[in-house]
Subunit: 350 residues, 2 copies
């Protein structure tokens, strides 16, 4: 299963691989010689206080962060900041089910939690990259989960936090939606309990998974306004096949399942015995909470409820009809709002 | 497949079966000796102008209409009106895949459209039940689709119309959601192209179908407020197993697929070459458009857009966090709003 050419330097590079040694996981497993794939842009200043950390979302890698969010004149401006994008474990570039050899890889890859990623990233930054302060942690979706985890777990290190389109504690509804994604894959007989030869074998399951992402990832208004046609697709079928399925069909099912399990259980209140208020009270970072207004599974109302529990936070919803997947950057206006907010946030003296 | 005990008088009765003869369908098939299952409450008055027609929704029968919506003092008051609930074709009580013998039944049951149901109901009312005027047509979800079809197809017969939680022309997003429901069932190897022995064989597919209904049928806020616990379930798993799956697991998969195909293609603009404005302009009924405020696949905005195209209509959204499945009646406040609106509508002189 290491032959997957999608998770390659050719498609997602350049990135550097850092070995942080054995990572003992919260749920009892160990990733031996855990590798973190890092794409870095810009350079640290003399004071080393211009570092921005960006963790990645479900199915996404550092490449889409680079392409959609980083550039001169943007909020994430590599001429001003050192921007460090760390790929999440299971995402396909860092240690993941598909690239860890048997018997530890594939369906035997251990359970990983958001907290494991954040501990691994902390170790990488402090021990390997000589970074001990972060001007900003910003991430979307599962990147938002990691952003919250960073702000709660290492408050003195995180000056600013921008969780976009994600929550600090996953909701019951979101857990359920993710479960339907998991079922879509695992119910394919060709999935064979994770022992398939290639993603192509699991194409039926991956197609169902892609369709459910289409139904929940955008929004009802996205389709009502025919945004899928604006994006260059002639019909719903064309959009499903040549955008949604084209995107997911090359990914490793066990990788997706590793991330889904982690996503379902994102919860900063694990630090405080289930007390979300107490967990969020640990955040000292100046925080901008940025849901997508039309998000169907990380709805703005849920993000707003968490924002109320954070001391030094502003609620800055992004007005868009692209739903959760406005993260992909197809709505230029949504991107402009995110950029404006991030520039405002970075301008705040902390 | 005729042995299914769920679709029985014991569970759903009493109802009467009317044979309306051969029903030639829009898509070319024929249902021979088409049976319509009718539950009737109250009696016609001398002028025969107090008849209310209620078509049924996906998976629902006349029984839930009776239990949740009909009663003395309610808007649908059998001491004032003759209330005729006609079960949709494919719903399990009227002619349906599971009760039509081979080779015409099961997966060979022909494609049925909303327009076929409404023509069949019209024939039943005018030829068998001596009804040629309807004080009100009211239905939820697919019942709303049939309500719109009635008002467009037979405007002189429909005095008032109350489409609840449904649209006149199905949207691309709703089509996609329904497709994921279809896939959930048909992807189960035990579905066997529709040639299964009993619903229990297709339990995996029906469970996935039930989960997707749970994720889209209620709302994010429903779960955030723990309404599933208020309804008597101790956890999400308990709710999925003992409410959602308990509900769907006994239903015939081919019946569900027959209804899903029909639901996906509900569209009054078939009468006007695709011109929705022209189709809705045919409506003369006083119409109350009643979406559920938190509906995730018949969203209020879509219903509002159609309401704007209807001459003599009021937009009366139902404020609820129960989403589409507020139709089930678990939110007493939503039911009270529906009742108030229907009483207002019935009080309008037409």
């Amino acid at each position: 299963m290491t032959g997957n050419t999608y998770y390659s330097h050719e498609v997602h590079g350049p990135f550097a691989l850092h070995d942080i040694g054995d990572l003992v996981l919260e749920d009892g497993g160990t990733i031996r010689g855990c590798q973190l794939a890092v794409a870095s842009f810009g350079t640290p200043n003399a004071a080393r206080d211009n570092v921005i950390l960006v963790p990645t979302w479900y199915s996404g890698t550092s490449k889409i962060i680079e392409q959609v969010y980083i550039g001169e004149g943007r909020a994430l401006d590599p001429t001003k900041y050192q921007i460090v994008v760390v790929n999440q474990i299971g995402g396909g570039l860092s240690s993941s089910p598909h690239n860890v050899p048997a018997p530890a890889g594939g369906p035997n890859f251990p359970r990983v939690r958001i907290g494991d990623d954040v501990r691994a990233q902390h170790q990488l930054l402090t021990e390997k990259l000589n970074i001990d302060s972060l001007a900003l942690v910003v991430g979307g979706s599962m990147g938002s989960q990691q952003t919250y985890e960073w702000a709660v777990r290492y408050p003195s290190m995180v000056k600013r936090a921008a969780p976009i389109a994600g929550t600090a504690r996953n909701t019951v509804h979101d857990f359920l939606f993710t479960e339907t994604l998991v079922d879509a894959i695992t119910s394919d007989p060709a999935f064979n309990r994770g022992f398939y030869a290639s993603p192509a074998d699991v194409r039926d399951g991956l197609l169902r998974h892609a369709k459910m992402w289409a139904a929940m990832g955008w929004s009802t208004e996205f389709f009502q306004r025919e945004r899928h046609k604006v994006l260059g697709f002639s019909s719903l079928d064309d959009f499903i096949t040549n955008f949604m399925f084209a995107y997911f069909s090359v990914m490793d099912p066990n990788n997706l399942l590793c991330m889904a399990w982690k996503w379902q259980r994102g919860d900063v209140s694990r630090h405080t015995g289930g007390d979300l208020r107490a967990a969020l009270a640990r955040i000292t970072a100046k925080t901008f909470v940025m849901p997508m207004s039309s998000d169907m599974f990380f709805p703005a109302a849920d993000c707003q409820a968490e924002w109320r529990l954070i001391r030094n936070a502003e609620f800055r919803p992004i007005d868009t009809v692209d739903g959760h997947l406005a993260l992909f950057g197809a709505d230029a206006n949504a991107l402009a709002q995110i950029d404006r907010n991030l520039k405002d946030l970075l301008a705040v003296t902390v």
